[in-house]
């Protein structure tokens, strides 16, 4: 099967070469994300649709040129993501890359973008390394990151008295980053970390890992995973009665995860997110429009895709060029203010905006379909993202 996919990729690559060296007659936006596996509900084809919505709402043109969206499924494989980015830049004259889910693919794509001097705006991936140790003059990290999640949810739970933690971690870049960042927050707040277990990405049965967590004697189980993995671990935790002795902390959860699990298994959980569809009127208006097309409510990543695309197109219009360096200078100097959030992009590439601590509602409090959460606290961007003192990024010194 993998051979078939590789052959097809090669064939597509060859087809791409034939149409190589396009004249710059269009502005091209590239988008790779997980479109078929465990993260595809969080972003996926509806993520691409959100970008297209932004392009259409912008009028379909910028600087008098039509805007074209190229999208592909990176299958959570860093090599596919990197080679797709390279191919589009080399043969399609790509102007900007928007990054979907999976930190492994994002770190690989960021390297290609830096080498080729093309803008890379990351929404779906969470690893805080993108704007810290691995920061680049061409990367913007737009929606959220693992530091913000850790400071948001971690601090809230320690404050409530949850001091003994055990981590169930997805065994790759994102999970490791989220575990480390949260452990730091927990320790700084006076808590202890009793242990961690690292489960391979896309595990179907978490019961064994959960028993290990339970026997550690910790009170809080930090789920440093996402998408299908989070869903499967919460489901197994409730089946094995883990929830009777431990409280679950979903460190990265989306509205689609709650939708899939149902409120009975998730009520009372705290999670941190960059956006929630029911947070204000502007967000509800976007969500309604999105729902009309997708038949489900947008996740924060899908909303960020729309917002990031619009922001990029505004920056291109203001800079009067698609030249990466000039557009990046524009992005970093302008104020961003839309339904997704308010703020500015820092020298390290981090878009600093408010984050939200959300609480999952009780089944009785849910008034309508997709009415799952309420905003428990608004977290100031300056408080939750990496601070200058914590940063190792050379661009911000």
């Amino acid at each position: 099967m993998k051979h078939t996919v590789k052959l097809l990729t090669l064939a597509l690559g060859a087809a791409g070469l034939l149409t190589a060296a396009h004249a710059q007659d269009k502005v091209r936006i590239g988008f790779t994300t997980d479109m078929s596996s465990l993260y595809s509900d969080v972003d996926g084809k509806n993520g691409a649709m959100a970008i297209q919505m932004a392009i259409d709402d912008f009028g379909g043109k910028v600087l008098g040129k039509p805007i074209e969206l190229l999208s592909a499924d990176h299958q959570n494989k860093a090599d596919i993501a990197a080679s797709k980015a390279r191919e589009w830049i080399d043969t399609q004259g790509l102007d900007v890359m928007i990054g979907g889910t999976n930190s492994g693919t994002a770190l690989a794509t960021a390297k290609v973008a830096e080498e080729k001097k093309k803008l890379y705006i990351v929404n779906g991936a969470g690893s805080s390394a993108l704007t810290n140790a691995a920061c680049s003059p061409y990367t913007v990290h737009y929606a959220y990151d693992t530091v913000a999640l850790a400071k948001g949810t971690g601090t809230a739970i320690v404050k409530q008295g949850g001091k003994d933690w055990f981590f169930l971690t997805a065994d790759y870049a994102f999970g490791h980053a989220l575990e480390t960042d949260t452990a730091n927050v927990v320790k700084a707040a006076g808590g202890t970390v009793k242990g961690a277990v690292r489960a391979p990405l896309n595990t179907s049965d978490f019961s064994s890992f959960l028993l290990q967590a339970q026997s550690s004697g910790a009170k809080i189980l930090g789920l440093a995973n996402a998408g299908g993995d989070t869903i499967a671990s919460i489901k197994a935790a409730s089946e094995f009665g883990i929830t009777k002795t431990m409280k679950l902390a979903g460190l990265l959860m989306f509205v689609t995860d709650v939708h899939s699990l149902g409120l009975k298994d998730t009520q009372g959980m705290y999670l941190t997110d960059s956006w929630y569809w029911d947070k204000d009127d502007a967000s509800r208006a976007f969500a309604k429009k999105f729902f009309g097309k997708a038949k489900r409510m947008p996740t924060s990543i899908q909303a960020a895709n729309y917002s990031a695309t619009t922001t990029y197109l505004k920056a291109v219009t203001a800079a009067k060029t698609t030249d990466s360096d000039k557009v990046m200078a524009q992005l970093k100097s302008m104020k961003i203010d839309d339904f997704f959030g308010k703020g500015n992009i820092r020298p390290d590439g981090r878009y600093v905006h408010d984050m939200y601590l959300l609480e999952v509602k009780k089944p009785a409090d849910s008034k309508s379909p997709w009415d799952y959460m309420k905003v428990a606290a608004t977290l100031k961007g300056e408080d939750v993202f990496t601070t200058k003192a914590e940063s190792k990024c050379a661009l911000w010194k």
Partner: protein, 292 residues
Amino acid sequence: MDFFGIPLSALLGQLLLGLVNGSFYAILSLGLAVIFGLLNVINFAHGALFMLGAVLTWMGMNYLELNFWVMIVLAPLAVGVVGIVIERLFLRWIYRLDHLYGLLLTLGLTLMLEGVLRSAYGVSGLPYSAPISGATNLGFMVMPNYRGFVVLASLVVCFATWYVIEKTKLGAYLRAGTENPRLVEAFGINVPLMVTLTYGFGVALAGLAGVLAAPIMQVSPLMGQNLIIIVFAVVVIGGMGSILGTILTGLGLGVVEGLTKVFYPEASSTVVFVIMAIVLLIRPAGLFGKEK
């Protein structure tokens, strides 16, 4: 008492959990082995039909408000019928061709089935709760009652299948049909019908595994994808065509995988393939297979 720093009680718990997963491997690989034995088809659609069993159960319970115990009978039957249709419409035309054609055809069917359901339901999965609630405290661990039921049910199904194939007259026909279909036909036995029914039965087993798995795993169009690769490895390790070998290998690998989750969790998704590579080097026909 400790083993390599792991308390004995924790180890027992992990062994039991491994057995639960092993039960799924056993039922699924049994179906694959039976189909390969008689039809010579590498049934790549097995994972998708496993998933279909789970999704049909969900549909029956949500749209028709049937209960789980009705669906545990209905869903495998429905999947079996789907299998019979697949065999009659597609597979029968390619028996004389290379294995690769069967593999590609069933892979294509898998992609179609998964694609259609993915666009209808997404990948996050559908909410589903266990039909047997509650858990029993076994002293060393808390075992959800439903998982215990899964182990028992799959053992019964596996050994019943083994008994039918190895010890009854019908099984004798099946085995003879595998060896020499023409000769068996000369004795007045309708081999094509037998082949169709065998395929239907093999995939019904996959459907049954799907129904059993539904309350444990998230019911989602992708649930068969990961499992099918492991199940193929199980069949290869056990040896193609050996029924009892396949069952034992399935259970055994579930346990080995469970233990890996304790001692070196990072490797738990690859350990089965490492074992497969070693077995292929030492015994190319598999642990229980016969060299041809």
